[in-house]
Structures are given as structure tokens and as C-alpha cells.
């Protein structure tokens, strides 16, 4: 019991935005997780009688133009979106840490070379870069992850590099050199843990951007391909029925915003803790 109250006290100390963000993200992840196993209806099952049905107790978000239950599809679509976002961030942060750490720590010619490539890539907005890469790799869930992941590397690399440049001149890093620590040990044991707070914050903001980017690409029809559901794809379908059934677009869009807000509140809250 005492432990619980202590936890509660600790929770209350966290910034308001962080708490809200974590709760929202928690809700999203909970629903998405449950949705992997159970959905009220089969997300693929078409029912001609309930085409474009409105919001009711039977279908809490109504039905789409094929009579599929929108809520079930939103669950499924959010899962796809989150899966892609996770993969994207995974690739982006791994690549970003590697490139940023080496460029930032060693500096000099290596830094110049890596950063010139990086800047050339960063000059493109990440959605545009992902678009180019998709046109190379083709569409599909994994191709999207790869394309977006690569497109996200430059921004992470830049953040990590900045952090490494900041820390490499710190006295404790000089000290580590003196006690005989090798470059790799200094980079990944001494410096990296100090960048975690910035990294966590930028990962959360990255999630936010990845969800946005995936939705954008799917909206354009070059993201996830059917039968996979995706929020962006559903929005582009819903746009056609905007007048007859605005609830469809609003429900899907609302969910999308809810997920993004969860991440952005959390990221913002963590950043503000400093």
C-alpha cells in the first residue's frame, strides 16, 4: 500500500503534459494491442446492408462504403500505423546514433563527409525523401518502413551529432581518455547515456512525425496497400463520402489526432522536465 502511494506521489510530480500524454498513449496502445486479438467485427467482412451506416450502438464509428465496421478497421489500421512508426523510428534512431556518434565524436574529415551527405538528405523534407525511396523500393509495409526509416536517419543523426559535439569537449570525457578508455568505450559507455534524455524526447517527437508521415503516404495511396488497413488510406476513402457521411472521416481523423497528441504531449512533457 505504501509503495502504491509513493508511486502515486511520484506520478503527481511529473509535469501535467507528460501525464496527459502518457495516459493518452497508454489508451491508444491498450486499444491497439487488444485490437490485434479481438475486434468487434472482422475488419474485412463486408455487409451490403450496412453500407455507410451511421454511428450506432452496433457500429460505434459506423460503417464504410463496403459496409465494413469502421471501429474494427480503425483498430487494425492504428496497429499498422504504429507498427510502421516503430520500425521507422528503430531504423532511424539506430542509423542516427551510429552516424551522429562517429561524426560528432571524431569530427574532422569524417564529420565533414558524413554531414555533407546528411545535409543533402536533410535538405529534403522527410516525406519527400520517403517518397523518392518508395519509388525505388516499391510500396508495401516493409518497403515503407525501410524508406521512412532511411528518410528519418538524417534528422536523428543531426541531433546525436550535436549532443556528441557538446559532450566530447567536456572534462569528464578528457578524463576518460586519461584513464585509458578507448574511443568506442567513450562514445557508447561514457557519452551516450548522457544523451538519453534528448534522445527519448526526440524519439517521441519522431513517433509523432512518423505516424503523420505514414498517414500522409497512405493517404496518397503509395503507403500501405490493401488488404492492410491504415488510417491514412481510410481517410482518403472517407474523403469521397465527406458530404453524405462526415462522421466517417471525423472518426478516423480523430483517432489519428488522438494517437499523435499522445506522443507529442509526452515528448513535450519530457522536454519540459529539464
Amino acid at each position: 500500500m505504501g509503495k502504491l502511494t509513493a508511486r502515486l506521489e511520484e506520478w503527481k510530480k511529473k509535469p501535467f503534459l507528460l501525464r496527459i500524454g502518457l495516459i493518452m498513449t497508454g489508451i491508444s496502445i491498450f486499444f491497439i494491442f487488444v485490437g490485434i486479438f479481438v475486434t468487434p467485427y472482422d475488419p474485412e467482412a463486408m455487409d451490403a446492408s450496412s453500407k455507410l451506416a451511421g454511428i450506432s450502438f452496433k457500429h460505434i464509428m459506423g460503417c464504410d462504403n463496403f459496409g465494413r465496421d469502421v471501429f474494427s478497421r480503425v483498430l487494425k489500421g492504428s496497429a499498422t500505423t504504429l507498427f510502421i512508426a516503430t520500425g521507422t523510428i528503430g531504423i532511424g534512431i539506430t542509423g542516427g546514433i551510429l552516424i551522429g556518434a562517429f561524426a560528432g565524436y571524431f569530427g574532422g574529415v569524417l564529420d565533414e563527409l558524413l554531414m555533407r551527405i546528411n545535409d543533402a538528405a536533410l535538405a529534403f523534407p522527410s516525406v519527400l525523401l520517403a517518397l523518392v525511396l518508395i519509388s525505388l523500393f516499391g510500396t508495401g509495409k516493409y518497403q515503407i518502413i525501410l524508406s521512412m526509416g532511411i528518410a528519418f536517419i538524417p534528422s536523428f543523426a543531426r541531433i546525436v551529432r550535436g549532443e556528441f559535439i557538446r559532450y566530447r569537449e567536456m572534462d569528464y570525457v578528457q578524463q576518460a581518455k586519461l584513464i585509458g578508455a578507448g574511443s568506442f568505450r567513450i562514445m557508447f559507455v561514457h557519452i551516450l547515456p548522457n544523451t538519453f534524455r534528448v534522445l527519448v524526447s526526440s524519439i517521441l517527437i519522431g513517433f509523432n512525425n512518423a505516424v503523420l508521415a505514414e498517414a500522409g503516404l497512405s493517404f496518397l495511396g503509395i503507403g500501405v496497400q490493401p488488404p492492410d488497413a491504415s488510417l491514412g488510406r481510410m481517410l482518403s476513402e472517407a474523403q469521397a463520402y465527406l458530404f453524405s457521411r462526415p462522421g466517417y472521416a471525423l472518426c478516423v481523423g480523430g483517432t489519428l489526432i488522438f494517437i499523435i497528441l499522445g506522443f507529442s504531449f509526452s515528448g513535450e512533457g519530457i522536454g519540459r522536465k529539464v
Binding site: E112, Q174, A176, L178, I179, G180, R185, H190, P193, N194
Partner: protein, 252 residues
């Protein structure tokens, strides 16, 4: 003490260090700026040598060249002992904020890799005691320590590898006067107990006087004067030394 310790630990001959201005592949031409100019001096075993100079005189650059942190230099640095260790000015920047004190203290021996975990830990606690810190400090993060405590931890870390020569770069400048006095006493005690040689870098003439047997006066990358502290302070020969003494209100 001079008879017993004629053995030379460090000898620097004609050392010039360089600093690169603007590094780049394109457009920016590499400019080499000389910081230390043709410096020569030596430190004997068990000696405390002061290095006196104002900001920009190249004191820190010299320290970093001797310890091998920077390698962009010409001339000779001959060490007749294990690698010298260093204490830095800012006690807030010289401890890794992400690591507990114990981890920091253990790290040097862990990297060496030829002692058992238990042995390393034992030595870390011994060292904490030697610098006058309580055992419970070991489990703290640097952010939970005061400036004086941090500087003690830095000293402990530097001594974990049993260096024969310690380079102290303005170790007390960032501290309050009362804490300053404590750290100076601690360093002197370690010097006495371990026969530790210290190169003590400072801009404070009085602190140098208290700490050192001999002092070097540095200006614009050159050593302008060198000598026993008492003679140096009472009979300065170089105009700059006189100017420094006057500015600090020490005129004898």
C-alpha cells in the same frame, strides 16, 4: 627533500603546441595557430611545481599536451613514470552526470582489466576515504554533491591508477575560499603521503605560493620566468612577473 628525489619524472623540451582554426574540406583553409612556443622544463619526483599565468596564456593547452589528450605538437615530452592524471577546473563538468560516483571511481581499473571486481571496489572505497569522503557518497550522482565534494571525487578518480604525477588545472578556482583551503590541504597531504608530484596550474599567486616549491610564469605561450617560489616572489626579474605580483597586491 631535494637530495632524496633527484629522479626526473617529466622532461619537456622545446614543446610547441598547435591549434587548428577552422577545419574543413572546402574553402576553409586550415590555419595552424601556435599556442605554446618552445617550452622546456622538468619536474622531479616528489616535487610540486606551479604554473602561473592568466587566461589565454596556454596553461591548459600545455597540460593537455603533457597528458596526451591532444597530440598536435612538436618537441619532446619525456615521461619517466606511468601516465600522469589530471584534475580539471570545473568540478561540474569533470564528472559524468549519468554515472554514480562508485562507477566513476571503478572505471579506470575496469578499463585496465586486470583486477577482480571485488578488488576494484575495495580500492574505490579506500580512495574515497583517502580524499576524506564518506562511504555513502559512492552511491550518489554528481548532481547530488557539492562543488568541494565533486573535486574530491575527481581527485580520487585520478589517483585510482596510482599516478606518480598529477596535473591539477586550476582545481580550486571555481570553489569558495573556505572550500579552496580544504582542497589545497588535501592535495598537500596526498603529496606528502604518496610522494606525489604535482604540476599545479593556477592564476592565483597566493595559492601557488602556498602549494609549490618551484613555479613557472607563463605568458602568451612562453615561460618568461622560472624559479624557487620564495626567490621568485621576493626578487622577480621579469617585468611581467612584477606586474602580476603588483596586481595581486603582493609587493615585497
Amino acid at each position: 627533500m631535494t637530495n632524496r628525489n633527484e629522479e626526473i619524472l617529466l622532461e619537456v623540451k622545446n614543446l610547441s603546441t598547435y591549434y587548428q582554426q577552422g577545419q574543413g574540406l572546402l574553402f576553409t583553409s586550415k590555419k595552424q595557430k601556435q599556442v605554446c612556443k618552445e617550452i622546456s622544463f622538468s619536474i622531479k619526483r616528489g616535487e610540486v611545481v606551479g604554473l602561473l599565468g592568466e587566461s589565454g596564456s596556454g596553461k591548459t593547452t600545455l597540460a593537455k599536451a603533457i597528458t596526451g589528450i591532444t597530440r598536435n605538437h612538436t618537441g619532446e615530452i619525456s615521461l619517466y613514470c606511468n601516465r600522469p592524471q589530471m584534475i580539471f577546473q570545473d568540478p561540474y563538468g569533470s564528472l559524468n552526470p549519468a554515472k554514480k560516483v562508485l562507477w566513476t571511481l571503478e572505471e579506470p581499473l575496469r578499463i585496465q582489466g586486470n583486477s577482480s571486481k571485488a578488488l576494484i571496489r575495495k580500492k574505490a572505497f579506500e580512495m574515497l576515504e583517502q580524499v576524506g569522503l564518506e562511504r555513502k557518497i559512492a552511491e550518489r550522482y554528481p548532481s547530488q554533491l557539492s562543488g568541494g565534494q565533486r573535486q574530491r571525487v575527481c581527485i580520487a578518480e585520478a589517483l585510482m591508477l596510482d599516478p606518480k604525477l598529477l596535473i591539477a588545472d586550476e582545481p580550486v578556482s571555481a570553489l569558495d575560499v573556505t572550500i579552496q583551503a580544504q582542497i589545497i590541504r588535501l592535495l598537500l597531504k596526498l603529496h606528502r603521503d604518496r610522494n606525489l608530484s604535482i604540476l599545479f596550474i593556477s592564476h592565483d599567486l597566493r595559492v601557488i605560493y602556498q602549494m609549490c616549491d618551484r613555479a613557472l610564469v607563463m605568458r602568451d605561450g612562453q615561460i618568461v620566468e622560472e624559479g624557487e617560489v620564495s626567490t621568485l616572489y621576493s626578487h622577480p626579474t621579469h617585468a611581467y612577473t612584477r606586474q602580476l605580483l603588483e596586481a595581486a597586491g603582493i609587493s615585497q
